[in-house]
């Protein structure tokens, strides 16, 4: 029997009872569909997270005050641990460059009757360089601005749009807390960074923020490694540990009262999250395909019993055991192939719908398909068809023609 005849017979066997075939495929459809859907969502989320991280350059790092663990309590435990003295000593390190300390100013921001609560950052010119921020209108803060202590401000694009709409904000005066600042520029849109809207900000000179708040500590510091990131990272940590009197013998990060974050670290975390997600999806796929495979084997065994007379007839007409085996095996494979394709279409379709919905909340969420998941899940489905179809097919092939013909 030719392969085309076997596949035609298998196709006929599957389509002749379409509803049952569809129900048989259900396990495979759900299995493949969920794998494709979850991989797609995972890929889209990875894109979002990478977008958040990539705003920092590969050699950038940020030092936050507080403990590595312990959530808000950990941060609060050491929120004043980064001092101006730390900054001065860090400036002496040759392995780092472009140190940019940040101080937050709290209080309402207003322009005329418009009021809001954007984040107000006291920064110097390095901050814009480290974060790759450029001006949309006017200019950014420059070195002289901080040195001179000018009461000026640069607005994030969303802040500018909210307070001024179509009016040109340059030269206008806004109020932050009890102080007035003249707007000198608007930053280009950045999107979100670490899941915070980086465009809903106001930047004022660092020296002004220090004076206004009277703060003796820094909220965080950004910097860039001059050459080797690892060297810079080690230098910064050693310096701060020495200055803060932290026991370094065990190199225990939990004892640190500061946290160094970098895009490399974030990438590492993302990598482990991706691995976890992959394992999770693989487990789901394996369970679903196992359940689907058992369903297929069950129905195929029923089908062999139901079609015993047909098998006897085919053998009486000259079918070899191999012909019958291949016909039933192809039927099982066909069921899983069709189930796989339906699952993929449903998975991709659902991922697309989810992307449309999530986009309203996460602008950077882009519909993505994991080609690996599509290909691998399809072949896993086919492998399931072979693994679970072989036993019923062998049972069919082994039937004796006369016993099969007489079966009632």
């Amino acid at each position: 029997m030719r392969l085309s005849d076997i596949s035609h017979a298998a196709f006929k066997g599957v389509t002749v009872n379409a509803m049952r075939s569809l129900l048989t495929m259900l396990g495979i459809i759900i299995g493949v569909g969920s794998v494709v859907l979850m991989s797609s969502v995972g890929e889209s989320m990875e894109g979002v997270i990478l977008g958040q991280i990539s705003s920092l350059g590969p050699k950038s790092m940020v030092i936050f005050p507080g403990k590595q663990e312990g959530g808000a309590q950990g941060v609060m435990a050491g929120f004043d641990s980064l001092t101006f003295e730390d900054l001065r000593e860090l400036e002496q390190l040759k392995s780092i460059d472009k140190l940019a300390p940040v101080i937050f100013i709290t209080g309402r921001t207003s322009y005329g009757r418009e009021e809001g609560t954007p984040q107000v950052f006291g920064v110097d010119d390095n901050f814009f360089k480290n974060q790759n921020i450029s001006a949309r209108e006017g200019r950014l803060l420059e070195k002289d601005d901080s040195d001179g202590g000018k009461a000026i401000a640069v607005l994030g694009s969303d802040t500018a749009d909210k307070f001024f709409g179509s009016i040109n904000p340059i030269g206008k005066r806004i109020k932050v807390g009890n102080n007035h600042y003249t707007v000198v520029g608007v930053a280009k849109a950045l999107g979100s960074q670490f899941f915070q809207n980086a465009d809903e900000r106001v930047y004022v000179p660092f020296s002004v923020a220090r004076t206004v708040t009277g703060q003796k500590y820094l909220n965080y510091i950004t910097m860039v490694a001059t050459d080797s990131f690892d060297l810079a990272f080690d230098d910064v940590r050693s310096l701060l540990r020495r200055r803060h009197g932290i026991d370094t013998s065990l190199n225990d990060e939990k004892k640190d009262d500061f946290v160094v974050r970098s895009s490399a670290q974030a990438n590492e975390i993302l990598g482990s999250v991706s691995l976890g997600l992959t394992l999770f999806i693989t487990t789901i796929a394996a369970i679903s395909l196992l359940v689907g495979g058992i369903g297929i084997m069950n129905i195929m065994l029923v089908s062999v019993t139901e079609r015993t007379q047909e098998i006897g007839l085919r053998k009486a007409l000259g079918a070899k055991g191999r012909d019958v085996l291949l016909q039933f095996l192809f039927e099982a494979i066909l069921l899983t192939m069709i189930g796989g394709v339906i699952g993929q279409i449903l998975g991709i379709g659902l991922a697309f719908v989810i992307a449309l919905i999530v986009k309203n909340f996460l602008a950077k969420y882009v519909f993505a398909i994991s080609l690996n998941a599509v290909v691998v899940s399809f072949f896993m489905a086919v492998a399931t068809g072979i693994a679970f179809g072989i036993s019923p097919a062998r049972k069919a092939a082994a039937l004796h023609p006369i016993e099969a013909l007489r079966y009632e």
Partner: protein, 245 residues
């Protein structure tokens, strides 16, 4: 027996027993038989006499316990499953009492079925050969019908078309009129008779006298033994009546 024609089938002391849980049940005893090419033979006998078993052995659907079976002069005891399947695909064919047509499949597709397993008939000839076979049994206007749309007689004629599509050396018919009314039964037997007139060897298994009347030779079997083998129909029927008494 027609001695002038070449021998197609020859059985020598053939025996068949079934074994179930160490219980041996003999079904056929020392069958000696020759059937020549072109014959129309009816194997008659009451239920349980072993006539169907004999037909299954002759048609390579079942094996035998001892003795010899020569098909076209060739010993068949060494044939493996694949060779047996090949012979069933090319040299013999069957018409069953229950028609055994594929459900939800057209007349033409059913007739074409044996060609899927035929090793030498090209794919390009499948449709034309099937159409020719369907025409031979007078169902050319029903080719595209599903088998469920046919009467019992028509279904059996489809089965006959399926049996002759590969142009086999011998057609085995197992109670071909058993599920039919008398008019349809006559039509089916006339179709088989016509095939025999055209040169096909027909071996018919039946317990009905009216059906056996269409054959040219009648072998009567009882309790696994051939009790008569004759071309004289009246003598056979008389013998059968006597045996039944």
């Amino acid at each position: 027996m027609t001695k002038s024609l070449p021998v197609l089938i020859e059985l020598q002391d053939l025996c068949k027993s079934y074994m179930n849980d160490d219980v041996v049940t003999p079904v056929l005893y020392d069958i000696n038989l020759q059937i020549a090419k072109g014959e129309f033979v009816a194997i008659m006998g009451p239920s349980g006499s072993g006539k169907s078993t004999l037909m299954h052995i002759l048609g390579f659907l079942d094996g035998y316990t001892s003795g010899r079976y020569l098909f076209q002069g060739q010993f068949t005891n060494t044939f493996d499953d694949n060779e047996l399947a090949r012979i069933r695909a090319t040299r013999v064919s069957f018409v069953f009492q229950a028609f055994n047509l594929l459900a939800r499949t057209t007349v033409l597709e059913n007739v074409m079925l044996p060609l899927l397993y035929h090793p030498s008939i090209p794919v390009s000839e499948r449709v034309s050969l099937s159409e020719k076979a369907v025409k031979t049994v007078g169902l050319q206007d029903r080719s595209s019908y599903l088998t469920s749309q046919l009467s019992g007689g028509q279904k059996q004629r489809v089965a006959i078309a399926r049996a002759l599509v590969t142009n086999p050396d011998v057609i085995f018919a197992d109670e071909p009129t058993g599920n039919l009314d008398s008019a349809s039964g006559v039509a089916v037997m006339q179709a088989l008779q016509k095939l025999n007139d055209e040169g096909h060897t027909i071996i018919l298994v039946t317990h009905e006298r009216t059906t056996a009347e269409h054959a040219k030779r009648i072998i009567h079997i009882r309790d696994g033994r051939i009790v008569s083998d004759s071309t004289d129909f009246k003598r056979v029927i008389a013998g059968e009546t006597k045996n039944l008494k």
